[in-house]
């Protein structure tokens, strides 16, 4: 017993330098991680001359928002943001609903082929989108949705990750709750939305944030299906036009201003609600 105590006090003495080292490492890693984003914001506030200077100027002498004004002109920024918003909100709402319903069925119902069907659905989580891109492009064409926001949205109204996440959390909802509602004569759909959904609200919040960020950020599919119809471009696809707009170095400030604006919604959402993100990642990681 006294040996253990001695070991512990010896440990405390030894931990002081370790503590300092850890703290320095944390600061170092955080600085390196934050540096590109800090550079992005700083550069968006520089004058065109400053962005071109060799060697680079680190801090803008007179921070100004000219680049933001200019980028708004070049990109029809309002329209791009609206498109991004429509894509992200519609897909997220649909994913929430379809995932909740299917997750409830998989978690709380018995039916033939339930487990194999679930396994097959989950397998699509691991499918890189490029594998199905070519026929998908043609299928959406058949549906008459090419070059439109509907075409961007349609294939993303349900996804396997959402079904998986919902099933994991709905499994933990007490059966008594569901049975009681059934005895009261509630339909299964009603149970899903009025009993189960409130019980798994944190998971639904996580899925909402995840889906929103994912669809706000997605690039490959909108770029492909919109076929150059710049009117319908979401902000991330619009941003890629900045490089071709003026390939000279003068546009560095513009590029950084545009990037800053596109980064804001997802990063702000995360900072505000990071607990839900982290919980859902942990759930998806541990139960695989």
């Amino acid at each position: 017993m006294s040996e253990a105590r001695a070991a512990r006090s010896a440990l405390k003495l030894r931990t002081a330098p370790l503590k300092a080292i850890i703290l320095i490492l944390i600061i170092l890693v955080a600085v390196v991680a934050a540096f590109p984003l800090a550079w992005m914001v700083l550069t968006s506030l520089k004058t065109p001359q400053e962005t071109m200077s060799i060697p680079p100027v680190w801090l803008p002498a007179t921070p100004n928002l000219d680049a933001y004004r200019k980028v708004a002109d070049v990109l029809s920024l309002g329209r791009s943001f609206l498109n991004s918003g429509i894509i992200a909100v519609v897909t997220t709402a649909a994913v929430d609903i379809t995932s909740l319903m299917a997750g409830y069925a998989f978690a709380k119902h018995d039916f033939r082929f339930r487990d194999p069907l679930f396994a097959v659905l989950i397998a699509t989580m691991f499918l890189p989108p490029i594998v199905t891109l070519i026929p998908l492009y043609r299928i959406v064409g058949y549906l008459g949705l090419n070059a439109s926001l509907m075409g961007v949205v349609a294939p993303n109204l349900a996804n396997a990750f959402g079904v998986f996440l919902m099933r994991q959390f709905i499994k933990g909802v007490p059966n008594e709750l569901i049975e009681a509602a059934r005895l009261d004569g509630a339909s299964e759909i009603r149970i899903a939305f009025q009993i189960v959904a409130p019980a798994v609200l944190p998971a639904l919040a996580a899925l909402t944030l995840f889906a929103f960020v994912y669809y706000w950020n997605s690039y490959l599919w909108p770029l492909t299906v919109l076929e150059g119809n710049t009117e319908q471009y979401p902000i991330v696809v619009s941003l890629s036009r900045l490089l071709s707009y003026n390939r000279g170095a003068m546009n560095t400030g513009l590029v950084m201003a545009g990037a800053t604006l596109a980064v804001l919604p997802p990063v702000m959402l995360f900072v505000l609600l990071q607990r839900f993100f982290v919980d859902s990642i942990v759930a998806s990681g541990l139960s695989g």
């Binding site: 070991a7 440990l11 931990t15 300092a20 850890i22 703290l23 944390i26 890693v29 955080a30 991680a33 590109p36 984003l37 550079w39 992005m40 071109m52 060697p55 680079p56 299917a102 069925a105 119902h109 018995d110 039916f111 069907l117 659905l121 699509t124 499918l127 490029i130 594998v131 199905t132 891109l133 070519i134 026929p135 998908l136 043609r138 299928i139 294939p155 109204l157 349900a158 396997a160 079904v163 499994k171 059966n175 008594e176 759909i189 706000w216 690039y219 490959l220 696809v237 941003l239 890629s240 590029v255 545009g258 990037a259 596109a262 997802p266 990071q274 942990v282 759930a283 990681g285 139960s287």
Partner: protein, 314 residues
């Protein structure tokens, strides 16, 4: 894991009684998600396989496809330009994937330890900073790094100069371009894998670590002999996800390098899209997609076999 599974008697009670009564509602609730995933994932997947055996222009309907057997596969692995380009893209993707995984896994564990430890403050703060980079759209990452990497006006070469290292050509040389894109990808993704590592570390029973401490194990020993072995499953899962993410790299290539210089950053997602969509060679592109899929399946199966062999008979 253990997220409140129903206790056995409860499970028994609802099971059989439900089977007849609620089958139909269950299918009604499955229908939207399953139907959508069928139309937009399963059918395209089947079509990709079918198209890989056809000659078909992406500009036309599926009915114009003409069966050519395995010719597309002979072409993409052959010695013509088509074959050379595909094999370059495949090799680039493989290098990119290996480098990404080799950097992400150790970093995620190292950062995970920093976030998880309770000795010094700042763990949660670090997690927030690291994970917020994962929220940044890849297109913005690509734009920002294209400026950071600028050989003359970029800050990275200036930093190298400060610490007395020679400047790097970064994206402008075929020798360094692919590795530069790996770095950018690691920067964006490592926060996600750090959270996975933290989740794994949290699962290690405190009693085990305490016992080791009392037995006189130093932090390094505790890491090497207890934490690392117990992180096996987490690392396996992380490796699988990192591989699948790595083959999807697209934005920095499409936006900045267009596969260059000298094809050094021509990776599969970019190449397949160029062939299958931009050049409308749907058959060839689909054959490449099938080859990518097979390569992924083989790689991940090998990874699991390797992990099982290392874990030994338990």
């Amino acid at each position: 894991m253990g997220r409140g599974l129903p206790s056995p008697p409860r499970f028994h009670e609802t099971g059989p009684r439900m089977a007849n009564r609620v089958n139909l509602p269950a299918f009604a609730m499955l229908a939207p998600a399953t139907g959508l995933i069928a139309v937009f994932v399963f059918i395209p997947m089947a079509l990709t396989i079918w198209l890989s055996l056809q000659e078909w222009s992406t500009q036309t309907g599926f009915e114009t496809a003409r069966f050519v057997g395995l010719r597309n596969f002979f072409d993409i692995f052959g010695s013509t330009t088509v074959g050379r380009d595909f094999k370059t893209a495949l090799a680039n993707t493989a290098i990119y994937t290996v480098l990404s995984v080799a950097m992400i896994l150790p970093l995620s564990v190292a950062f995970g330890l920093l976030v998880h430890q309770k000795l010094a403050p700042g763990g949660v703060f670090l997690r927030t900073v690291l994970f917020s980079t994962y929220m940044v759209p890849m297109i913005a990452v690509a734009l920002v790094f294209s400026k950071l990497y600028s050989p003359t006006a970029g800050p990275l070469n200036q930093i190298l100069q400060w610490v007395g290292l020679p400047p790097s050509p970064w994206l402008s040389s075929p020798r360094t371009a692919l590795a530069s894109i790996v770095l950018l990808n690691v920067w964006q993704q490592v926060g996600y894998f750090t959270v996975l590592a933290v989740a794994g570390l949290t699962q290690i029973p405190a009693a085990v670590l305490e016992a080791a401490t009392i037995d006189g194990a130093n932090p390094l020993q505790r890491f090497a002999y207890i934490k690392l072995p117990l992180l096996g499953n987490t690392l396996l899962f992380s490796a699988v996800i990192a591989i699948i993410n790595a083959v999807q790299v697209f934005e920095p290539v499409a936006l900045i390098t267009q596969g260059g210089p000298v094809d050094s950053t021509n990776v599969l997602t970019y190449h397949i899209r160029r062939v299958g969509i931009e050049f409308a060679q749907g058959g060839l592109g689909s054959a490449m997609a099938v080859a990518l899929m097979l390569a992924l399946v083989v790689t991940i199966a090998a990874l699991f076999a390797f992990a099982r062999a290392r874990a030994g008979p338990e």
